[in-house]
Amino acid sequence: MVIKIWNVIIYFSLVLVMLSIVICFIRMIIGPALPDRVVALDLTANLLISFIAIFSVIANQSVYIDVVIALALIVFLTTVAFAKLIAWQSTIQKKIRNKETS
């Protein structure tokens, strides 16, 4: 009996995580600017981490936790790189504007 409830709850949470990923993709499409999309991408990667963790419980394979570690490492680098890109864009535009006004 415990096993049956357990299965139902695990699959239910998997479905909820997939629904959250879909919501994040909606925000990624309609996001007004680049930073909104990057925030949605960050949350999507976080959700993928959770998805793989739950899937490792379903498949009963502990190997997938390695994937989680690698994904967590890469996501941090991605967000930092996007933040650097946004800061670089704004400095370039500021330089161009200063050149035009002077």
Partner: protein, 112 residues
């Protein structure tokens, strides 16, 4: 017993993640969206990893899950802070309900 603990942890973490996703869709502002996504998303992922840890109960899985949780809890605020700072200086629009903006007099953010 450990099956129940892992089940409850995974369920609560999933609910936090769903709250984060709803917040990222419904919040009016970039900074509010980032607030919802970072805090709730990090807590949800940490709870799910704790549930996985209780499910397997193996030495290597426990160590890897603890390291992943530590890494997520350290790097999520750093990445969020970098992104918020860059976006603020880029000149994103704040929501109309914003009451105070203490950096407004100190920096020039009239851009794009």
């Amino acid at each position: 017993m450990s099956a129940w603990i892992s089940m409850i942890c995974i369920l609560i973490g999933t609910l936090f993640i769903l709250i984060a996703a709803i917040g990222i869709l419904r919040m009016p502002d970039l900074l509010m969206r980032m607030h919802a996504a970072t805090k709730a998303g990090t807590l949800g992922a940490g709870l799910i990893l704790i549930g996985v840890m209780f499910h397997f109960q193996k030495w290597n899985v426990t160590v890897e899950a603890i390291f992943t949780i530590l890494f997520i809890f350290i790097t999520a605020p750093i990445a969020s802070h970098l992104l918020a700072r860059a976006a603020y200086f880029r000149g994103i629009k704040l929501a109309k309900m914003t009451i105070t903006d203490e950096l407004k007099d100190h920096y020039d953010r009239k851009l794009s």
